[in-house]
């Protein structure tokens, strides 16, 4: 296998991962275009995390193919790590370091020059309005600020693709939307975004989404297409119909 020649940000073909007798990810095939905001949805335990670990070069697939930023996930996982950014709700920044120190640390990890780190630090501080708190420990920041900073840090080395794993979980409704504006900004600048979320309204913000059920991709398309195909009024409804059809009759949370 060689690096794929095309410019798709992510391409998989029958990607599979088993753990003993259990198939966590079962022949998934999809691709993500450059600059696309791709929502990677699924029920708890559907295989999203396992798939993301394969795509970020952290876990070797059992079978199938995948290229991320043109690099083969089997043989070029170190190259993948240089070309991607990653953030999750659980781990993103070091609470005991200041805002500036966190940015500098990640800049160093990604081999940025001193000048690059300085310029990008100022850009982030001014964009997020954090200049006055640049010397505060990150642990003292409100969750929403921390998450916006974490996204900016994940984008610090200007990766081609950024993976966001439940980045807005527990974040207030205003900050959640500011966070999505940062996502749009990054996508308009050409960064590809793959994002997971349990907020179904956020699924509507994506260009395309996939919904995983029991290791497989059960639906793939733009939010409008998926709603039209399912005859549903919201992605929440599409999701429930796919994952638990017998529940779909009952009235769920509105929207």
């Amino acid at each position: 296998m060689t690096s794929s020649g095309d410019d798709r940000a992510i391409r998989t073909n029958g990607l599979t991962r088993t753990f003993g007798a259990f198939t966590a990810v079962d022949h998934i095939t999809f691709d993500v275009k450059p600059g696309e905001v791709f929502g990677f949805l699924g029920a708890n335990g559907a295989g999203k995390t396992t798939a993301i670990r394969m795509l970020t070069g952290l876990l070797t697939p059992s079978s199938g193919e995948a290229w991320v930023a043109g690099h083969d996930v089997y043989r070029e996982s170190e190259l993948i790590k240089r070309d991607i950014g990653y953030m999750s709700q659980r781990f993103s920044l070091y609470d005991d370091l200041t805002v500036r120190e966190n940015i500098r640390l990640y800049g160093g990890i990604y081999d940025l020059t001193r000048d690059q780190i300085r310029d990008r630090t100022e850009r982030i501080l001014s964009r997020l309005g954090l200049s006055d708190t640049a010397h505060d420990a990150v642990g003292a920041l409100p969750l929403g600020w921390k998450q916006k900073l974490a996204l900016s840090v994940a984008l610090l080395h200007e990766p081609r693709i950024v993976f966001l794993d439940e980045p807005t979980s527990g974040v207030d409704p205003i900050t959640r939307r500011q966070f999505w504006e940062l996502i749009y900004e990054a996508a308009h600048a050409g960064t590809t975004v793959l994002v997971t979320t349990h907020y179904m309204d956020e699924a509507e913000y994506c260009d395309r989404i996939s919904i995983m059920v029991a290791g497989r991709i059960a639906a793939l398309g733009s939010p409008a297409e998926l709603k039209r195909d399912a005859g549903a009024s919201s992605i929440d409804e599409v999701f429930v119909r796919l994952v638990r059809p017998e529940l779909a009759g009952g009235g769920g949370p509105a929207q």
């Binding site: 699924g42 029920a43 708890n44 335990g45 559907a46 309005g129 708190t133 505060d136 003292a140 920041l141 409100p142 969750l143 929403g144 600020w145 439940e166 979980s169 527990g170 974040v171 207030d172 409704p173 205003i174 900050t175 939307r177 999505w180 504006e181 749009y184 996508a187 308009h188 349990h198 907020y199 179904m200 309204d201 509507e204 913000y205 939010p223 409008a224 919201s234 929440d236 999701f239 429930v240 994952v243 638990r244 529940l247 009952g250 769920g252 949370p253 509105a254 929207q255």
Partner: protein, 316 residues
């Protein structure tokens, strides 16, 4: 009718400089499914810990089932059921062992309470011998709920039972609560998901330790004080940026499949507001943008009240 099952009067709890609960006053009625709705850091968990006698307030008072949470805690603990936000069962004990343990702590047995917990326990029974750690998220939740119910509490406190849970399990859990509510049990629940507010009889919206509004969900939604428009366009991001410069924008933000635009003119006719916003967007070249009035939701109210309370949020 006796006193309301939860009466919170001007409760304050500080951690250093931060007021986690900042002069909260609230009341939960008999048999109500009452929701405290707010993001992380709103003070929901601190308030729940005070109401369940696990934390002392700095000032103010709270009574649950007619008992003071500070001076009458021992009697109260026998009467309340509490499901903490973090999974708090014994991971190395099996499903049945966890349940037996919680029953014995309250001087009862699973056999004696079987009828009471059966509606939920029946979904778990086939996993009786499985260690709690090995259960799926949804099953852990159900076991925790069984453990909180096994001593037949007169009131139930559920702290963020649906956080981090997928949309389907969330829906199942709320349907379970709706069924439990029909028995007359008072249920107090907290959640960061605004869309779950509609599942409650009444809600209190919380932010930074304070209550922004308390009412029935429909009444909270109806309290939105501006004309709200939904804007749809394939070029959502550029339309969003363009609307920031619209002279009548009070606030504009992504909302599900559309953008929500709050017109800053009090009492303006919705049709007129729509056509003016449409004209503005057409002038800017967004000829395929569609604007129409839309009913406000709890989340719109939350956004509006939040912005009013804290202009720039100070680092807490």
């Amino acid at each position: 009718m006796s006193e309301a099952p939860v009466v919170v009067d001007d409760v304050v709890k500080r951690y250093g400089e931060v007021a986690a609960v900042d002069h909260v006053t609230a009341e939960v009625r008999h048999g109500e499914l009452f929701g405290f709705i707010g993001p992380d850091g709103a003070g929901k968990t601190t308030l729940f810990r005070i109401l369940t006698t696990l934390l002392l307030p700095d000032s103010g008072s709270a009574r649950v089932l007619g008992r003071d949470v500070v001076t009458d805690l021992w009697a109260l603990r026998r009467e309340i059921g509490y499901m903490p936000g973090r999974f708090s069962l014994y991971p190395d004990l099996s499903v049945r062992e966890n349940l037996d343990f919680f029953a014995s702590v309250f001087g009862t047995t699973v056999a004696r309470e079987y009828e009471h917990i059966a509606p939920i326990y029946s979904q778990l029974e086939e996993f009786n011998d499985r260690r709690a750690a090995a259960l799926s998220g949804g099953m852990k939740q159900k076991l925790a709920l069984c453990c909180a119910l096994v001593h037949r509490p007169n009131i139930l406190f559920l702290d963020e039972p649906t956080t981090g849970v997928d949309a389907v399990s969330r829906r199942e859990f709320w349907e379970l609560l709706a069924r439990m509510r029909t028995s007359g049990l008072t249920i107090v629940v907290s959640t960061p998901y605004m869309d779950e507010a509609n599942r409650c009889d009444r809600v209190a919206l919380m932010q930074n330790g304070r209550i922004l509004a308390t009412d029935a969900p429909a009444a909270v939604a109806a309290s939105f004080e501006r004309t709200l428009l939904a804007v749809r366009s394939p070029d959502r991001y550029r339309v969003l940026l363009a609307l920031r410069d619209y002279p009548h924008t009070q606030r504009v933000y992504p909302f599900g499949e559309s953008l929500h635009l709050a017109d800053d003119r009090a009492g303006i006719d919705a049709a007129r507001a729509s056509s003016e916003a449409t004209a503005f967007l057409h002038d800017k070249g967004f000829t395929d943008a569609r604007v129409e009035p839309t009913p406000p939701t709890i989340e719109d109210v939350f956004i509006s009240r939040m912005s009013a309370v804290n202009a720039p949020v100070a680092a807490a």
